[in-house]
């Protein structure tokens, strides 16, 4: 990395968001000296203006009755695996490692589905002579074809990762079911984060920036991902220890701040007292919530276009403000979660369905009643 990407020590910092991405796969420079990693959902990265900044705590509020938060978690974890980033996964199940079998593998949503099948045969003909070296012994990553990793991949929710894919990866799994699990998990997080190359103090940051390639050795790239599922699940022994959970979050956040990793924690706010739920939300750097939509909601179906394709709604409550005091004003805060070709997760702005004049009385009547707004201007 040359001196061009070095952060300035003066108070004026160049906006690096447009600059080329760093050489480390899966990392992207953002404004204010932050570095982004991808959420695993291209649309979400766009909405959040880059992704999740390193050192931030992302909280996802679950829908108590639907597993939509798992979609976010899976893509987040899969993206980490694609970029060879160390991963720590904690869940309230007895066997958290089983969850890895459900992680989606990267695919391409642009091309039609024929690509997956034809790529296998054509590879030998078209690209083998030139690009053979980029295929390792495993051929799992389609995105590696052009020799470099993309920042964010599309993930095919119907195609799980192969078992052997996990062999060379740094993946840890922790169960948070037991009584002492919070402190154990925290210790696991601490050791996990200590293995990820860290940056902390400003002076170190610059040296880290210029030396990160040298530190980026072996299998460990320089960003870690922690995914914790349903932290306050009622089957966990700690679920009634509100202050311990808050203290856990606080410690996790403080550890994250001094390391380059991102933690995504999902929780169900309905299982917490309202005041504690608010405390959790205040703790978050980035706060999202997911909601399922009811199958046969006639009112909503009339109101929104593309209601049939939606699987849920995503709300963005907070966007991380690291090293800045300016909050981001988003175009919209509610997005619909859709499955493109039943495989790829996409987020779309909610669009109100146009109501035609014959059936819908609302649109026509407001147009004539509040004449000052539209028809009034035409009179002049």
């Amino acid at each position: 990395m040359a001196a061009t990407t070095k952060p300035r020590t003066s108070s004026f910092s160049r906006n690096l968001s447009s600059a080329h991405s760093s050489q480390t796969p899966g990392l992207k420079h953002g404004p204010n000296g932050t570095t982004f990693i991808s959420s695993g959902i291209p649309d979400l990265d766009k909405i959040l203006c880059g992704g999740f900044p390193l050192g931030s705590l992302v909280l996802v509020m679950e829908d108590a009755e639907a597993p939509h938060h798992m979609l976010l978690l899976r893509n987040f974890m899969s993206q980490g695996l694609v970029h060879n980033q160390p991963l720590l996964y904690a869940s309230p199940s007895r066997d958290p490692r089983g969850f890895l079998g459900t992680l989606p593998s990267p695919g391409t949503s642009k091309d039609s589905k024929s690509r997956d099948s034809s790529a296998e045969q054509e590879k030998g003909l078209r690209i083998a002579w030139q690009y053979k070296k980029y295929f390792g012994e495993s051929q799992e990553s389609v995105n590696a074809i052009d020799g470099k990793y993309e920042f964010c991949n599309d993930f095919d929710l119907r195609k799980p990762f192969d078992r052997h894919f996990f062999s060379g990866k740094h993946v840890e799994c922790v169960s948070i079911l037991d009584s002492s699990s919070l402190s154990t998990t925290l210790d696991r997080c601490a050791t996990f984060l200590s293995q990820v190359p860290r940056f902390g103090i400003q002076e170190d940051f610059i040296t880290w920036m210029s030396h990160d390639n040298s530190r980026n050795d072996g299998n460990i790239s320089s960003a870690g991902r922690i995914a914790i599922q349903s932290l306050c699940a009622p089957q966990c022994d700690h679920s009634n220890m509100e202050w311990e959970m808050l203290s856990f979050l606080r410690s996790l956040k403080s550890m994250l701040r001094s390391s380059n990793a991102v933690a995504v924690v999902t929780f169900s706010p309905s299982l917490l007292l309202p005041s504690f739920s608010k405390r959790w939300q205040h703790m978050a750097d980035t706060l999202l919530s997911v909601k399922a939509i009811p199958d046969e909601d006639k009112e909503l179906a009339n109101l929104l276009t593309g209601y049939q394709d939606m699987v849920g709604l995503l709300n963005i409550h907070k966007v991380a403000q690291i090293n800045t005091q300016v909050p981001r004003i988003l175009e919209a805060t509610t997005f619909s979660i859709k499955l493109q070709k039943r495989r790829f997760l996409v987020l779309e702005c909610l669009n109100q369905a146009p109501v035609d004049g014959s059936t819908g009385s609302s649109y026509g009547s407001t147009g004539s009643c509040s004449g000052s707004s539209k028809t009034g201007s035409l009179d002049f």
């Binding site: 403080s254 205040h282 907070k318 909050p327 004003i329």
Partner: protein, 260 residues
């Protein structure tokens, strides 16, 4: 050093008056925000004010639970204030409770012990500052709910701590600026927030815009300035309502609808 132009917030708090050397002395200023709108920018603004006033007798003790020094340093630099330099010149004491409070969890310190230790640090810093002829010391706490987490939920200990700090304001003439979250305390019977609001002479409430998301307004502010010494003429202008737009190098305050 040229004086900064004062804005609506300064006027509402009463720190725009250059004839009054220390308008906040002995007072407690409470900032309340909510999940939707962070009130941290008010702290940044007041922190900058504390250092940019021409009186070099100002000093700040910053009790930081929510962010690291790097964050505050970067934010304040963009506001035109170098915290590291201020720290070197002994005008800025940074108590990093984000990392320190968590790393010694193996030490089995009691809930009370954390706060007692913190208060001792503050008191030591204050007396050291007074000896260095820094007459006006401001204690900034960011933020109260995290202080509660550090005390493991014992709000009595937090209240004790705040009362101790409050004693400093009357004894030595410190001022306290604290950030709290309004929505955390909305639905429960908790003495903490009520006592805080009672103690506070100036209450600043930060919230999202009542009319919904806007492109060029970040939220609205209500400043409640309790009259000092029961002066009746002050009663009239006690409550100020205005809106704000946060930028990297400062915050714009304006009355609703008055922005061009």
């Amino acid at each position: 050093m040229s004086r900064m132009t004062s804005n609506l917030l300064d006027e509402a708090i009463g720190i725009d008056d250059s004839t009054n050397l220390s308008p906040l002395v002995g007072r407690l200023l409470l900032v309340e925000d909510c999940v939707e709108t962070s009130g941290a920018f008010v702290l940044h603004h007041l922190l900058k004010r504390a250092f940019s006033s021409p009186h070099s007798s100002n000093a700040v003790i910053f009790v930081a639970f929510s962010q690291s020094f790097v964050h505050y340093d970067r934010v304040l630099r963009k506001l035109g204030c170098n915290l590291a330099a201020q720290r070197d010149s002994h005008r800025f004491f940074f108590l990093d409770m984000l990392t320190v409070g968590c790393s010694d969890r193996s030490g089995k310190e009691t809930d009370e012990g954390v706060l007692v230790g913190l208060y001792c640090k503050i008191q030591r810093a204050v007396s050291a500052l007074i000896q260095e002829n820094k007459r006006h010391v401001t204690i900034l706490i960011d933020d109260i709910p995290l202080l509660e987490v550090a005390a493991n939920g014992s709000s009595n200990h937090v209240l004790d701590f705040l009362h101790y700090c409050h004693t400093l304001t009357s004894e030595i003439g410190c001022s306290i600026i604290a950030l709290s979250h309004e929505d955390v305390y909305l639905d429960i019977e908790r003495p903490l927030i009520l006592q805080m609001e009672y103690l506070a002479e100036i209450l600043i409430k930060v919230g999202p815009l009542a009319t919904g998301i806007a492109k060029d307004v970040h939220g609205q502010l209500t400043v409640l300035n309790k009259p000092v010494g029961g002066l009746q003429e002050n009663l009239r202008n006690r409550v100020h309502n205005f809106q704000f737009y946060i930028k990297e190098n400062g915050t714009e305050f304006f009355y609703s609808g008055s922005r061009a």
